[in-house]
């Protein structure tokens, strides 16, 4: 890697001030497992002048239940989230998602906030030395449309229709399914509204804003959640499709359902049609199948990713059944 300036921030204010000063010329480093890869491959047109280390800010790593909520510090390691007994029992989708992210050693380095803020993995975007200066780098277009798009979006491109790169996080759909909120240094946002697609950005975070907490409301009684991941390998791989769901049953019927797919669209994809399909009904194989079908009803696959539609449909079905304990 080329050299750069390095700062250790010792408080949120200090981090924010540094970020404000440098703007786009600096990047935040938490676990480092995403940003360092980007820098080693020089994928972006501009190389960061400075890195702002936020691991030196105290009090950013915690897991506690408080005020009817689960609160997780942004720098909490994925390994710790995956192993935490409270999360495993009451917020299972998140524990499962964190436990299936990357590989064991990366889970000892990667943070929850880093995981939801991570950049896209599109192999055009990530090609070394900015070989493809695409839409997401303020360049002209998306190279996946006419290229090899076997891992790209099956629900169309970004709002402006341009980018088809998927969001690669495993924990993001779990947070959506669990109705989590993202607390930043200046506001609190619903997880679903946290993501956006802009050049060199995957979230709504401003240049001088960082995540300061994740808050998940305690699931209502009768709730269960689950997470499933589909990838070619059983470890290391980013998801090709994943799905998280939280289902609440009352008198044996679904009283609430939150189902979120990811790695299928430019941002986590809330499967609203699937949720509607199960509301008020008793879960069985046929219903779950129907929900899966509904989840992909709006799919617009590209030339090489039709199989992802079948996989997404299947994961939604199985995730719902997993919530039911089947």
């Amino acid at each position: 890697m080329k050299n750069f300036k390095h700062f250790n921030a010792y408080s949120v204010d200090e981090a924010v001030a540094l970020m404000g000063r440098y703007g786009e010329r600096a990047a935040v480093i938490a676990g480092g497992t995403d940003i360092l890869g980007k820098m080693k491959d020089s994928i972006l047109p501009a190389y960061p002048e400075a890195l702002i280390n936020i691991k030196t800010i105290p009090g950013m790593s915690y897991i506690k239940e408080e005020g009817g909520m689960l609160k997780i510090g942004p720098l909490t390691l994925l390994a710790d989230i995956a192993a935490n007994p409270v999360i495993k029992s009451k917020y299972a989708a998140l524990a499962q998602a964190a436990g299936r992210t990357a590989s064991p050693h990366l889970r000892n380095m990667g943070t929850i906030a880093g995981n939801i803020c991570q950049d896209i993995r599109c192999w055009y975007y990530r090609n070394q030395n900015n070989r493809f200066s695409c839409l997401r780098k303020k360049g002209g277009r998306c190279y996946a449309i006419k290229g090899d798009n076997r891992y790209h979006s099956i629900f169309g491109g970004s709002v402006s229709g341009g980018c088809f790169a998927v969001h690669p996080s495993d924990t993001a759909p779990a947070l959506v399914a669990l109705d989590a909120k993202i607390v930043t240094s200046s506001r609190t946002i619903e997880t679903e509204k946290f993501f956006e697609v802009k050049p060199v950005k995957t979230t709504v975070l401003k240049a001088d804003e960082i995540v300061t907490a994740i808050q998940i409301p305690e699931p209502p009684a009768g709730s269960a959640s689950a997470f499933l991941k589909f990838a070619l390998r059983r470890s290391i791989d980013f998801p090709i499709v994943n799905c998280a769901a939280m289902v609440t049953l009352k008198d044996g019927k679904v009283s609430a359902a939150r189902i979120c797919l990811n790695a299928v669209h430019v941002i986590p994809y809330r499967a609203l049609q699937a949720e509607q399909a199960v509301m008020g009904k008793k879960i069985d194989e046929a219903l779950a199948e129907e929900a899966g079908q509904a989840a992909v009803s709006a799919a617009k696959p590209l030339e090489h990713n039709k199989y992802m539609v079948a996989v997404a449909r299947t994961l939604v079905k199985r995730c719902i059944l997993a919530c039911e304990g089947k």
Binding site: R121, G147, L232, V311, T314, L315
Partner: protein, 817 residues
């Protein structure tokens, strides 16, 4: 004739007559065939002490990196290196048009196609290192300097698909070499015809055709290509990450007007895997040559390194399109096979798609053609191994025929077993003629494999068994012959050390991980009569003797013979020395250690020289050697009137040459077989294939190192599963740029991705190697990849003829997308 001459004569006979069964096996084996810990290299590797070329650090050493072409076919029009040269820490930028660089140079592997440019100005694949090499104080600075080099390119049309590139009128992909079309057969082994396939098809009950797409896969060696060059005056000191030290020296000796061989000091550190691959590419020593040039100019050592992405330089020589036609009878007997392969960018001789049919079946009519077409991707070479093409065809044909006839594929295999179109009766006659015991290797392999795998319980109709977890269960079988005993030569020496009588093997080769060093120590210990712990081998430095390298391809046979020869000669020398007057000098001699005895009265066991008739009379080799350990002080002692004995050096060297078997036109019949079984579960909703179990059965003739053989079995199976269902090099169709040149997007199996692997070793003694052995290193990784095809067919009743068999391709075969 003296015993020594007899031994020499026997050795010569062995050497020139390994077309017959080994005449000199031992009666008892103490070390050979056992489970031996990895004493030679294991501790160094587990503790981090083993040094690889990537670890070499020399004082003042510079790091060299290369420009890579961003285009699949392009010529440099203009290159401005000014900014790069000015970057602090950059010491030299070597340009392609530097007057000190020759037009072509010996920088490759195969003598007939090795002349290449050290730094080219025309790229024929995206990612090709060319144009300029930067030497800097650190790799990071060198890399930064590359981004400062301004280049202007003239892009040319490019092709990625071999079939399209073979069509008349297709743009030229490599006009410098082939100006009238992209058809690029290196002129060797491109066609095989046996019998008359028209007749064979006419005789068949049924004829079917199918087409297979095999996408490119590559070697992925953990250690990146690199090398270090240091000039010591006019002497070259070199460290290479490469498979063949003798090729390194053969090329280096021709450089710079000729560097004498005796002034090349070659280090062959531990190697972070070699599977063929880099060794075979035309440019395999290009980087080293550039390092040598710059090192000469700056008088500093230079290490050249390729990045991980640059190591995705080429692919395996089975990439391409296969058109197969097969005729067979309803009872599973195959009457004719016609196979044509459109093969992408073969850099060296490719094997006809039907060569294995010729070598190990009774199929009478065969026709096979390889059309090697250069496309604008990296060169495709043998990667564990070159037999992938014929094996793919054999596996898919055999299993397809079995499926069409509704027969157990293990039966179809035995029905068609044979050689050169002849049946097993004929093959057994050849075994007799050559002095082998008559055993049916395939039958034994299948019987043992079926028992281990529980084949009879598990095999079912295609699509016939759904599991409780909802997945479809499938089992597959394939077979072939063992070919790793083929061509090559090995030279080695053994020395008994003074002072403590330990034995040292002297030879240089590539330690690519198979555990060959331990095997050679076993053979030496066995033949010398010494304890295994007293025998050692460090193959990392060059004593001038070149073993066949790498070992997995045929090495155990050629090298095994060489070690055995040397050990036998050395043992005889020890016994002759022990029974002869010692220390003959101008002043007389001393009595023998064993007076009034002949060498045949003695033997060596447990590192002790003893009298056969009375084993209580013995002297350890250590003490015998130690008697002489006073050479230095001898002169002093002589000064004071005392006399001290010494013994002649106890040293022997030997070599072995065998002409091999990669020639289908006059083959040495292959008697050893292998058989493999695979169990899969297919998730028909997602298309995912889970390989839940593999059983390998290899008739290795004779096991030398049991754990090494098993290591090749599970290692080859897992690599095979990777190649069969995960590994694919992806290029952007529009720009020709490689999209997955990294270890996230190019997927090799993790520990979780393959189920348990059962290993069975059969020992029929039917190999041409010493003790009746045949090698094992290449076989499994080459055979297992396509076994997934028949296993998936058995699960879902549909053939997937695109490899790797990814979920999307399974869903397509199921008609779901």
């Amino acid at each position: 004739m003296s015993k020594e001459s007899e031994i020499q004569t026997e050795r010569m006979i062995e050497m020139f007559d390994n077309l017959k069964a080994d005449k000199y096996p031992l009666q008892e084996y103490r070390y050979i065939g056992q489970k031996i810990p990895r004493n030679v290299d294991g501790l160094a590797k587990a503790s981090g002490q083993a040094e690889y070329t990537m670890d070499i650090q020399l004082p003042g050493m510079l790091f060299m990196r290369f420009v890579d072409s961003p285009y699949p076919h392009a010529r440099i029009v203009r290159m401005d290196t000014g900014k790069a040269e000015k970057l602090p820490g950059v010491r030299h930028v070597l340009r392609y048009d530097d007057p000190g660089l020759p037009e072509t140079e010996n920088i490759g592997y195969f003598p007939i196609f090795q002349n290449d440019r050290p730094l080219d100005c025309v790229a024929h694949f995206e990612g090709q290192p060319m144009g300029a090499a930067v030497a800097a104080d650190t790799e990071a600075i060198a890399e930064e300097a590359l981004s400062l080099i301004e280049m202007e390119w003239e892009q040319r049309p490019f092709m990625l698909d071999p079939v399209a590139a073979s069509e008349p009128g297709a743009p030229l992909t490599y006009p410098e070499r082939y100006s009238d079309g992209n058809f690029w057969n290196r002129g060797v082994l491109d066609e095989l015809i046996h019998g008359d396939v028209k007749k064979g098809f006419a005789e068949a009950d049924r004829v079917i055709e199918f087409k297979v797409n095999r996408y490119g896969h590559t070697w992925i060696c953990p250690e990146r290509p690199c090398g270090v060059w240091r000039w010591n005056g006019d002497q070259a000191e070199v460290w290479v990450k490469n498979q063949r030290p003798f090729v390194a020296k053969r090329d280096i000796t021709t450089w710079f007007g000729g560097i004498p061989m005796n002034k090349i000091l070659l280090h062959m550190p531990y190697q972070g895997a070699t599977f063929g691959g880099w060794t075979h590419v035309d440019w395999s020593f290009g980087g080293l040559y550039c390092a040598a040039v710059v090192s000469k100019r700056l008088k500093r050592p230079v290490k050249y390194i390729l990045s991980r992405r640059e190591d995705f330089y080429g692919s395996s020589m089975d990439e391409g399109v296969y058109l197969v036609k097969v005729g067979f009878k309803n009872d599973g007997t195959i009457t004719a096979v016609d196979g044509t392969v459109y093969h992408a960018s073969a850099i060296h001789p490719a094997f006809s798609p039907v060569v294995h049919f010729h070598e190990n079946t009774r199929v009478p009519h065969l026709k096979g053609q390889i059309k090697s077409i250069w496309v604008n991707k990296g060169p495709s070479v043998g990667i564990r191994c070159e037999m992938l093409v014929p094996i793919l065809v054999q596996t898919l044909v055999m299993d397809r025929v079995a499926a069409e006839c509704g027969m157990d594929p293990t039966e179809v295999a035995q029905k068609n077993d044979g050689c050169q179109g002849h049946d097993m009766n004929w093959l057994n006659e050849q075994k007799r003629k050559r002095g082998f015991v008559v055993r049916d290797s395939l039958k034994e392999c299948i019987e043992k494999g079926k028992a281990e795998f529980k084949w009879d319980e598990l095999w079912h109709k295609p699509g016939g068994r759904k599991l409780p977890n909802g997945r479809m269960h499938g089992v597959g079988f394939t077979w072939g012959h063992e070919w790793s005993d083929s061509t090559g030569s090995g030279e080695i020496a053994i020395r008994i050390e003074r002072s403590d009588g330990t034995a040292t093997l002297l030879g240089i080769h590539c330690d690519n991980g198979v555990g060959a060093e331990t095997a050679y120590c076993q053979i030496a210990a066995e033949e010398l009569g010494m304890r295994l712990e007293d025998v050692h081998f460090n193959p990392q430095f060059d004593p001038g003797f070149h073993l066949n390298s790498p070992d997995s391809s045929c090495g155990t046979s050629a090298n095994g013979f060489a070690v055995r020869h040397a050990a036998r000669i050395l043992k005889q020398r020890i016994l002759e020395s022990a029974t002869s007057p010692s220390s003959p000098s101008q002043r007389g001699s001393y009595a023998p250690a064993f007076p009034n005895m002949k060498p045949e009265d003695l033997d060596i066991k447990d590192s002790r020289i003893f009298v056969r008739a009375d084993p209580s009379r013995w002297i350890s080799v250590a003490d015998y050697a130690r008697l002489m350990a006073i050479q230095g002080p001898v002169s002093n002692a002589e000064l004071f009137g005392a006399r001290s004995a010494w013994t002649e050096p106890l040293f022997a060297h030997a070599f072995h040459v065998q002409e091999g078997e990669y020639n289908p036109h006059s083959p040495r019949e292959k008697f050893c077989r292998q058989a493999h079984f695979m169990e899969v579960e297919v998730d028909t909703e997602t298309g995912e294939v889970f390989v839940t179990r593999v059983v390998n059965v290899n008739d290795v003739g004779k096991v030398i190192n049991r754990m090494s053989c098993e290591g090749q079995q599970y290692g080859g199976s897992i690599m095979g599963v990777g190649r069969g269902k995960l590994e694919e090099m992806v290029h952007d169709p529009v720009t020709g740029v490689m999209l997955n040149g990294n270890l996230i997007d190019y997927k090799i199996p993790t520990i979780k991705d393959v189920g348990p692997i059962g290993t069975v070793l059969v020992e029929t003694g039917l190999g041409y190697g010493p003790y009746g052995l045949v090698g094992i290193g290449e076989d499994i990784a080459t055979v297992v990849p396509h076994l997934i095809g028949p296993a998936v067919y058995n699960a879902i009743g549909a053939w997937v003829y695109d490899f790797p068999i990814t979920p999307g391709r399974v869903l397509k075969a199921l008609g779901k997308i």
